[in-house]
Symmetry: C2
Subunit: 307 residues, 2 copies
């Protein structure tokens, strides 16, 4: 597997039409799904001088996107966005296949599609046969908010953005998507779809299940007064460890559904590690526990500090 | 079990000698162990007009505490601090018994001792027989830093502070400690030592093991390139869920050592919950997974929002 991290361009990320000269060229870019990610892509790409065509099932969202000058034009009709050179598919995972099937009859043969789904192997397997000029992608950016109202400029700056081409992905399609994505000043990575899914299982999907289990375990305390006291005493340690387990259930189910095999693999590995700690504590093997915690202390910075 | 949450006084927490009139009376207060907690207690209690006597094994720390006007006097000799009316024991758990044994020969019979250890049942069992006027306590405040340099004013404001009297704790000793602690404007709770230990096992000690297991599990990924990609892609979800598992190993071992039974109880309950989620994902029982995640989403605010 090759992983490329492509450095952001040196020039400042200013927004505004005056920085279009640093881009390879002005394009018609379509955005299907005008939520947080689609809207934020539209804002940044419009500021670079591209023509932005939006599509949302809801006419009201299309009107809002035009009124806020997030897109130049928008319509629930797939014909508008299908006239673009490059189209970002920003609908939920379950709606991607339908979106592509709606677009295909209206696309120019040179049109390039890319998605922003958080799982890649099943999506690439589903969409690539429908449209050869397809490049899987995953911008790893977000806020606690969702929807067009939450869309903002600069959302992708310094955030990872993974592209997952396969052997059959056309080189020019990959190059075009990479160039546009790089202009967002994200940290661009490239790997195979399955590798992406294994990596995000570890650092994104497993933490949700680990964290949800913590909340569920606390709720199993049989004595109401102890549970109540625990609720009063919980502070930053519990807050942080439980945060993603208290998040959007739909997203959690979707991760498990689309990334089932990779997630189960990480869950079994996690259970082995947990059982190791339990055994050390049961056996009062404090030296081994100390070693284990020294290792996690030493290794964590490799995940959470800039590399 | 009785849990009392005592509201903070209405008057402002200003520091400075002019607010001593809101206190029950000026005392000589001893602080054994001049680290983050001991130093911060000294700063706040001195600002209320109490006379603060410090003790640290290290003469250099005593000098610093005097130079920074954190304490009025300080000495490595237990005789100085033993002359106080009320003594906060702020040494690590393992040093508490020695500290009390050093003090006892020099204490006035009316002197009151209280500790700040994060586990209560073994500490109360150890110390109460050495000095009847003892009240177990646990201020749940801290920063990422430690040591006297990190000590600061207002550390305990709005933080939980648990007192754990037993049937043999003298009522006047409890009342005195509660009054002084309340003046820190913390949220004061009172419960039995065992209940405290069960509650903190859920919200403080279990999260450390859950979080450390997450880091350890990621490190078990066999393919180096996938691990490297995971390290690059990790963001706020992984950062938060792994934070306490990447903390001080000594503290983690100490929690496990002193709160072994309660921690193991929570670990087994946690494993049951985890196994439930694994089974739902293995069986593709998405409706059950959705219900489980809806429950954790609904219940988390009871732990992390002001009550």
């Amino acid at each position: 597997m090759a992983i490329y991290s492509v450095a952001a361009p040196e020039e400042g990320y200013a927004g505004g039409a005056n920085n279009t000269e640093s881009q390879g060229g002005v394009m018609k870019i379509g955005i299907v799904g005008l939520g947080l990610i689609g809207g934020s892509l539209a804002i940044d790409l419009r500021s670079q001088g591209h023509t932005i065509l939006g599509m949302s099932r809801r006419a009201e969202t299309c009107e809002q996107a035009i009124a806020r000058q997030i897109v130049h034009e928008a319509s629930p009709d797939p014909k508008l966005v299908a006239s673009a050179d490059l189209i970002f598919l920003c609908t939920p995972l379950a709606a991607l296949q339908d979106s592509v099937q709606q677009l295909v009859p209206h696309l120019a043969t040179t049109a390039i599609l890319t998605d922003v789904g958080s799982v890649k192997q099943p999506i690439v397997q589903q969409l690539a046969p429908l449209w050869p000029n397809f490049v899987g992608g995953h911008p790893m950016a977000g806020t606690a908010e969702s929807g067009l109202d939450a869309a903002l400029s600069g959302l992708f700056v310094d955030r990872p953005y993974v592209l997952t081409p396969t052997e059959s992905t056309p080189a020019h399609a990959l190059a075009t998507v990479a160039e546009v994505v790089r202009s967002l000043r994200c940290r661009l990575y490239q790997c195979a779809p399955a590798e992406h899914d294994r990596a995000v299982a570890w650092i994104s999907h497993l933490p949700v299940m680990v964290s949800a289990s913590l909340i569920a375990a606390c709720l199993s305390e049989p004595e109401a007064a102890v549970l109540e006291l625990a609720q009063h005493l919980a502070s930053s340690g519990f807050r942080d460890t439980s945060r993603v387990g208290g998040g959007n259930p739909e997203l959690g189910v979707m991760m498990a559904r689309y990334n089932q095999a990779a997630l189960l693999n990480t869950l079994h590995a996690y259970r082995n590690q947990l059982d190791g700690l339990i055994q050390q504590i049961e056996q009062a093997n404090w030296a081994a526990l100390d070693q284990a915690l020294m290792r996690t202390q030493a290794e964590r910075p490799k995940f959470v500090e800039p590399q």
